[in-house]
Symmetry: C2
């Protein structure tokens, strides 16, 4: 154990007395915890640059005072109960100090202030037995055997670069190549490896892009409804948000033309599976959006959310690949295709922005975890990723059928399922006389967790619109959840 105390060699009291006092104090304020083993006298003497005898005498003193106890052969420990506690019941921990000396309030930046609003920020998760979460892959199906095999391949002492600093902040070059090729074949993204930057997740991509592209007061257009976290990032950097409504063909691109000309710097869009509604941006709207961006000078941020999981019809190629001369930044991750704790996502940007994005990334996050990048490279190049996605597409597709059927048989005409047969969640509208809050509360009482889409709307929100994720739930759980939900809503 490392332990640091300050000795004043010219101060009052012998070194032994100073050591005793400081150890006693360390125990009383909680720096040393009950039962904690102390450094050996030899080690502490060496650390403090004093004789071993001095430390031995201090330890003996504290043993006799009842602060320490020793155990033959296994060392010296802080006592479980201390002399003071017998006289003074206030206990020992940092709390004492917290109240003694409150830290002065510090003035935040504009950015900081914008983060202090009253709205809850991180998701609260009351305990329920069936939670219809979105963005949640089935963790029981992680291809862990392959992943462990690749981990063992790379976590070797003869392969030291995986433990070192990365040579740049763009990411492991072979992974950038593997991703560029994967996106070219699977998503028709038009890019080379130079354009791929490894980030930890889509939020980090949006955060970097917003900082590099947006000044306070600039306009950002985005689908309404849309991800709350994304909106928060734009707002925190002082963007003016322009919500654009969504219909069955996706973002109503025509409305972009009504914004004050030349003022919109960014358009954020989820064309494959609009979040949260689940519709797909039609080809004609895609072409219109690209043309508008080219003429207005705005940059499109395409988050290709849920594109891996499409259960009917033809896959839709990315917006980015439709027109290589249009200003599009493409963003994706492996959160859903593999697992959320994998902190390796990517953005694909035009060549002229790579340099400045690399610098912003260097400052904010430097390098993504290297070992994971090595593993993922092999995982993609050896075909495991695409095989795993295909397996999960079958599994999630089946679960999608089950939840649709369960909803229809439980709610009949009173439920409308929105969007395409794709992704890992669906959004419904319910005909019900109950308020959204009542529905959520009743659901929770029968152990079912679902979300209203209300928080995703900037304005004109829809009543009785709910989002249900199903990818990580067994068919049995889906059935039970929907049945319980329907009984809870229909009961009086």
């Amino acid at each position: 154990m490392e332990f640091v105390i300050t000795l004043d060699r010219n101060g009052k009291g012998s070194l032994q007395r100073q050591i005793c006092e400081q150890l006693r104090h360390a125990i009383l304020i909680g720096r040393l915890l009950p039962g904690q083993r102390l450094p050996s006298t030899r080690l502490l003497a060496q650390t403090l640059g004093v004789s071993r005898t001095t430390v031995l005498q201090s330890y003996d003193q504290l043993l006799s005072e009842g602060y320490f106890h020793s155990s033959q052969g296994s060392g010296t420990f802080v006592c479980q109960q201390l002399p003071e506690e017998l006289h003074n019941p206030i206990g020992r921990n940092w709390e004492i100090h917290k109240h003694e000396s409150p830290a002065p309030q510090f003035q935040l930046s504009e950015f900081g202030i914008s983060l202090t609003d009253a709205q809850p920020f991180e998701p609260s998760v009351p305990p329920v037995s069936v939670r219809f979460r979105f963005g949640q892959p089935d963790l029981d199906r992680i291809p862990l055997k392959q992943w462990r095999k690749l981990w063992s391949r790379h976590c070797q002492l003869n392969h030291l670069e995986v433990f070192d600093y990365a040579p740049d902040s763009l990411g492991y070059r072979p992974l950038r190549e593997a991703i560029a090729q994967y996106l070219a074949r699977a998503r028709a993204v038009h890019c080379d490896a130079d354009q791929v930057i490894i980030v930890s997740d889509p939020l980090q991509a949006i955060d970097l892009l917003t900082r590099v592209l947006i000044n306070r007061g600039d306009q950002v257009a985005l689908e309404n409804p849309s991800f709350v976290d994304i909106r928060r990032i734009f707002l925190a950097y002082g963007a003016q948000l322009c919500p654009i409504p969504v219909d069955e063909s996706g973002m109503q691109v025509k409305q972009l033309h009504e914004l004050p000309e030349g003022n919109t710097k960014l358009v954020y869009v989820t064309p494959s599976h609009q979040f949260p509604i689940g519709v797909t941006l039609s080809l004609s709207r895609r072409l219109e959006l690209l043309a508008w961006a080219k003429s207005s000078g705005a940059m499109i941020l395409e988050e290709d959310y849920d594109s891996e999981f499409r259960y009917t019809g033809c896959p839709i190629p990315s917006l980015q690949g439709l027109d290589p001369s249009a200003p599009v930044i493409y963003i994706g991750s492996f959160l859903e295709a593999l697992f959320p704790a994998l902190r390796v996502g990517y953005l694909v940007a035009p060549h002229h922005l790579i340099h400045v994005l690399a610098r912003a990334k260097w400052m904010a996050a430097r390098q993504a975890p290297l070992l994971e990048q090595y593993i993922l490279t092999d995982f993609i190049n050896e075909g495991h990723l695409e095989r795993h996605i295909r397996r999960m597409r079958l599994l999630y597709g089946k679960r999608r059928q089950v939840i649709e059927q369960a909803l229809i048989s439980a709610f009949g005409q009173q439920v409308t399922i929105l969007g395409e047969k794709a992704g890992t969640h669906l959004t419904i509208r319910l005909q019900s006389s109950l308020s959204d809050t009542s529905v959520l509360n009743r659901a929770m009482q029968v152990g079912v967790g679902l979300m209203s889409t209300r928080s995703f709307y900037l304005n004109n929100y829809q009543l009785s619109e709910y989002l249900l994720g199903y990818a990580d739930l067994s068919e049995q759980k889906i059935q039970t959840g929907i049945n319980n939900l329907s009984q809870a809503i229909k009961s009086n």
Copy 2:
């Protein structure tokens, strides 16, 4: 393999012809690479929602045109050499498009513009045989056996939370507790686990803190010289930098009093082992700095760089722990104590800032790698970290002696070694008629890499001042490196 193409069912040309055209195009522009295996006809038919016969006919067509070749039993592949190449030597790759359609230049934000200066940003590393790098632990000594054992403990399918989203952005709670206790005993930091936020590294900590605490135009005081990357972060957010000189007792705190009153929001300081000079901030200066911060309303950012490695005298407790009521944010990492690719560092902030920092972190990076956090928790709690640090302290201490002796026997009176016997690098001043550039060039010619400290100075830089890291170099390499350096400098 996943492959996506767009079919226009109402368009011109049969589906078979459209498939042929798109596959041909995909090969020509590099979406499909020479030698790449194609999806099976069954799979592609299923993906595109067309009959298998249609796909079979398309494949046959491309086989006969020479784009594909097939190999009995192992599938169909893109040919290594294509029909076009025989006639057109320009080759195929995205480069063609890059020049055809340059992306329009996009106007950057103020933050973005500040990152585009001409100064080189990421370290360039010409090949040398002895590189005296700073901040570089000896990777051969990573406690990999322990680390692998703990990895196996946590990377299990019955332990799914390590693959999931983290419940918050503050970090894994038991790790925050382990770090709070470690810092309390080893560094006398005064904190509880609530105050500890897990970040990827000190740069991320500084980036988050700057965003949350600094508006454009605010003053930030910092040691001169100091880390280049830290300065870049402050500048990118529009801070006015106030360089404060450093002498043998550390930052000249008195000069803070001469700054315009109340305008300085942050003071950045490396008190344990000033970077790059290597001096320690004296106790009287520490107390003066804390008092000044309390009266002026500024926040102190204490980066406890290199504090693990002190080879003589008594360890110096942290600045943060000296006065629990002073406004100090403490920053540290395991980059040097363990290995640089471990993306788990920490900051310790006053309670009232935790909430807003957690939100800023959520947006910029959400969660640090979870598995590494679980491993590190056990690594600390089971005593491996402190044992490893002690072992490395002996090793690096020996190397420190060797480099000092080598420098003195090579340069005698012409070398001055600055700072304390601590850390993983030392800084020297050389008496030499050569310019810094000549010294570095001559060194490189004999295979030795070292740095001038010039880039670390905001103003008043020192001529002939160099920084030499030694922690990852064997005694033999250190000897060779210093000998070669001295011969290169002394030769005509």
